[in-house]
C-alpha cells in the first residue's frame, strides 16, 4: 500500500537534467587524457574533448517556473562552481 507521500510524489514529479561544463579557457587535463585515449583507440576525427557532469533531478512540483528557479538555486549554491564551470538546466 502506498503512503500519502508516495502517492503525491507520483502525481507531481517533474524530471530535469542539469549539465555542468568547464568554462572555455579552463584547463581540462581529464578531457585531454580522454582525447588522447580516443586517438590511441583509433577513433577518427576527434578534434577535442571536454569533460563535464550530468545530474538527473526529480522535482516534487508541477510548476515549471518554480522547478527552474529551484534548479538555478541548486546550481549556484552547489552543483556548479561558477569560478570554473557553466551550467544548463533542461526540464523534461
Amino acid at each position: 500500500m502506498l503512503g500519502p507521500e508516495t502517492r503525491r510524489n507520483r502525481e507531481t514529479v517533474m524530471k530535469a537534467r542539469v549539465t555542468v561544463t568547464l568554462k572555455s579557457g579552463v584547463l581540462d587535463p581529464q578531457g585531454k587524457a580522454i582525447e588522447g585515449a580516443l586517438r590511441s583507440l583509433g577513433v577518427e576525427g576527434v578534434a577535442s574533448v571536454r569533460q563535464g557532469k550530468v545530474f538527473d533531478v526529480e522535482l516534487e512540483t508541477a510548476d515549471k517556473a518554480k522547478a527552474e528557479e529551484a534548479l538555478t538555486h541548486a546550481c549556484e549554491r552547489l552543483l556548479a562552481n561558477t569560478v570554473i564551470e557553466n551550467y544548463r538546466v533542461e526540464l523534461a
Binding site: V26, L27, P29, Q30, A33, L78, L79, N81, V83, I84
Partner: protein, 232 residues
Amino acid sequence: MKAAIVVFPGSNRDRDAARALRLAGASVSSVWHSEHELPHGTDLVVLPGGFSYGDYLRCGAIAGRAAVMDAVRAHAAGGGLVLGICNGFQILCESGLLPGVLMRNANLRFICHWQHLLVERTDTAFTNRYQSGQAIQVCVAHGEGNYFADADTVRRLEAENRVAFRYCDPDGNITADANRNGSLNSIAGIYSEKLNVLGLMPHPENLVDPLVGGIDGRGMFESLTGSLAKAA
C-alpha cells in the same frame, strides 16, 4: 590561544593539526561539522586535510556548505584567524572565504612528496616566525592542488601581496619543475584580504617533529600562538 579544529566526515589530518598546535602551546578542541557555533573564545579555526565527503561532486564542495561553515564565516568576518590545510584550502575556496579553486593536478596524478615552499611575507599571524625569502621544507599529498582563478583575481592577489607560499626548489627558486601540480604562478597558499584567513595545499603540520624528517612546519604554529600572545 584557543584553537578549534573542524572535523568533517572524511577529515583525516585533524589529529596531526591538533598535535602541531599543542606542541606550539595552543589549547585545542574538535568541532563536528554539524555544529552551528564555535567553542566560546575560539581564536583560530583549522580546517584540516583529508577527503571530506569522499571528495564527491568537487573537493571541498559539500563541506564548504556544512552548517559549521556559517560560524566559520562569521568568525573570519570578525577578524578571527582561519587556517585551511590541503582539503581545508579546497573547502575555503568552495565556501567563498578565499578566491579561486583547486583543480585536478596538471599531470592527473596524486602527488605525495617532500616540497619546498618560498615564504612570501613574514608580517602575518601565520608566518612571523619565518624569514622573508626562506625556503621551508614540508610535504604535499593531494590529487587536486592545481590552483586556478581568473586572470583578474590572480592579478589582484599578486598586487595585494596575498600569495602566502609558492612551490620552489631547495634554494628558493621558483621553477616549473618545483610546481608539480601546475598551479598558476606556482601558488601553494593564499591569504584573504585582511590576512586573517590562510589556505595552503602543503602540510606544515606534518613537519613538527625531527623524528619524521624536519621541523620547518613548526614556524607556522609558533607564529600563530606567538602572535595571539602578543595581541592579548
